[in-house]
Symmetry: C2
């Protein structure tokens, strides 16, 4: 019942936004080559589907008044057996992708007909639609005004999803607790010698995360022993190489619970030389600095700029962004990056990573990543990733 | 040395194609949201990069004569430490993505300048470039003619990559041998009771594949016990649920060796009722039928149509395509699907899956998937996936 409400609430937000924008039909697509977790966010269905949202009438109101637009959703799923289970509470009509020859343009035409979308209406398609496909859509759907734009539905959903609702915060906190238990067990097992290789660490996480009820991990676990930690993202992601030996070893992982991701990075340090010690200290200080700045109202880019500036005093440069939102995707919004175009301002309900890191082909790499929730007056560090001295 | 040759040979093919098409500069992009293994195919670098190819002069010749166009490659990598290792033999100049503010349009402008690309030249960008991004490129690169098209470089590389060269066939055969050893061990371990859960099966594969030198698995292992095998792709992909119990259990996996993927599916059958027996028999017969048709010169869609027709005689319908090419991606070309637009014709050197399957919410699912190499006069079944009766 609670689930039904949150899917319906989210759909309602989109219906009202559609009315505001004068859009009669909206298409979302999740495919192997381009994932879109908005479909899961709106219906619960985990993927390989099209989702169509259509509004019944257009009730435009000012932002202050409460618009009340209802609509209908059709989920066109590759696997309808799965869709019937996962989208059961979303109120969406479930249809098979095979009915439309697996072609979005065919599906859109059929749905527009079924919903009686008036000729000349605005239909929005995904902002990631390729230019050649866009031309096809426009060519096939000549009766409608086809929109494909950056500042459209995708951007609105990024904005909405950047602020987690109570249900989402609760599930991410639960995922964070599982993550924290894993971190503690991993520390124990590395220290006792039970985890001796990258594979030991990765397989431990894969097994235990699911034992705790997780769907799996948020992304391919990155376990890089001291010989491989110089890479931002080790390749291959894990091997049977030693882990936790002399120098710096990195372990970057997250768990996925009910679709929601955590993302943390631990660094294991053993018998460091003075240069490696310095690298580790700098990363730890950068993490503290960043976390202390992460407050309601702060510009995200200012935090990243402060860390860049701190590193540059020692002539170090971080080769990646400082952090990113987490949620149904392992990388979502806000973006915590030092660039002029980054206009994200922190708000209560945002959950994101802070992950300073430094990498050197000779010294190895060190990254420290935790997940932070912004609250009205402060912040909560949800995870307890740390530098572990062996 | 051998590697250097094959990267150089592949680049040469693209340089000649560019000359034919009158394209001076070609950009490829591999990012988290849109993977493009063409970069690995051309340089060895496994990902998160832009690749620019530029021809020195334009030597157009007819297809019969041998054009001889040379060119330059710049690999703009997110992680240059990795790029220096993996792309070392490709001859590409290696540059950091951070030098261009991580923006493809900035990088393209800088590279065009560095290579002295004449004003008015044709520059091709990825066919998957979104319509809004395409407008940005065109707006920023006003001095050039920007091409973004389906029948361009991406399509040419799909065609080239659909036919594997000797080096690729050798590595895929090696990956297939590892896969076959895994299949045998899995059968043994399920029969002996060592593999009792989906997790046991998945973790066994993850561990053993890497022990045999693989980078990892080709995709998330799908291990679905009898309660979950009705889904085409079980969700979550594997859990701690029982595997190999009464009914039908599906195990779909592949290994990745030096970048190259295998992809097989086994079905485990225990104490079947007559309807389940029938399902299994039909899938086995469909696989045999399809494999027998897979020969040089055959239209791919005809094979898929034959299987669809075979199933429809028993009022069954397969909810997915019959097969797909494998290589650096787990899904590439040719496509073995029954649709009018599918114009792929089988040629020697093509390697693809044949994977008939039937799924029923009550009976469970059965899929049998093997990897086939087309030779001049016949075909070779590289893998030994099978229905395993327990």
């Amino acid at each position: 019942m609670e689930k039904e409400n949150s899917f319906a609430q989210r759909q309602k937000k989109i219906y009202n936004w559609m009315a505001e924008e004068g859009i009669n039909l909206l298409m979302l697509e999740d495919t192997e080559t381009r994932r879109d977790q908005n479909i899961r966010w709106l219906t619960g269905h985990p993927g390989d589907a099209l989702l169509f949202l259509s509004i019944d009438k257009i009730d435009k109101k000012s932002a202050d008044e409460k618009a009340d637009n209802n609509g209908k959703a059709i989920l066109v799923a590759w696997d309808i057996n799965l869709a019937k289970i996962y989208a059961a509470q979303s109120g969406a009509i479930i249809s098979s992708y095979n009915d439309f020859n697996r072609k979005p343009s065919k599906a859109i035409a059929a749905v527009a007909k079924k919903f009686g979308i008036p000729v000349g209406s605005k239909i929005e398609i995904p902002s990631v639609t390729s230019y050649p496909s866009f031309l096809d859509f426009v060519g096939e759907l000549t009766d409608f005004d086809i929109l494909c734009r950056e500042n459209g539905a995708a951007s609105e959903m990024r904005r909405l999803r950047s602020i987690k609702d109570a249900e989402e915060i609760a599930i991410i906190k639960k995922a964070a607790n599982i993550t924290n238990e894993l971190i503690n067990s991993i520390e124990e097992n590395v220290k006792s010698g039970k985890i001796k290789t990258e594979a030991d660490a990765a397989l431990f996480i894969e097994t235990e995360a699911r034992r705790q009820g997780c769907e799996g991990t948020s992304f391919d676990i990155l376990a890089a022993g001291a010989d491989r930690s110089y890479a931002i993202h080790a390749f291959p992601t894990w091997t049977h190489a030693p882990f936790g030996g002399q120098g710096l070893s990195i372990l970057d992982f997250g768990v996925k619970l009910g679709g929601y991701c955590t993302d943390v990075t631990l660094t294991f340090a053993r018998d460091l030389d003075p240069k490696q010690e310095k690298l580790v200290n700098m990363v730890e200080k950068a993490a503290k600095l960043a976390v202390s700045m992460a407050l309601n109202g702060t510009q995200a880019k200012d935090i990243a700029a402060a860390v860049d500036s701190f590193f540059s005093k020692s002539k170090k440069k971080m080769p990646h962004g400082l952090g990113h939102g987490i949620g149904l995707q392992e990388h979502e919004y806000p973006v915590i990056r030092n660039s002029n175009e980054n206009e994200w301002v922190l708000e209560p309900g945002m959950i994101f990573t802070i992950e300073p890191g430094l990498y050197d082909p000779l010294l190895g790499g060190c990254r420290l990543e935790n997940d932070i929730l912004i609250t009205d007056t402060s912040s909560e560090i949800l995870t307890n990733a740390r530098i572990i001295h062996l």
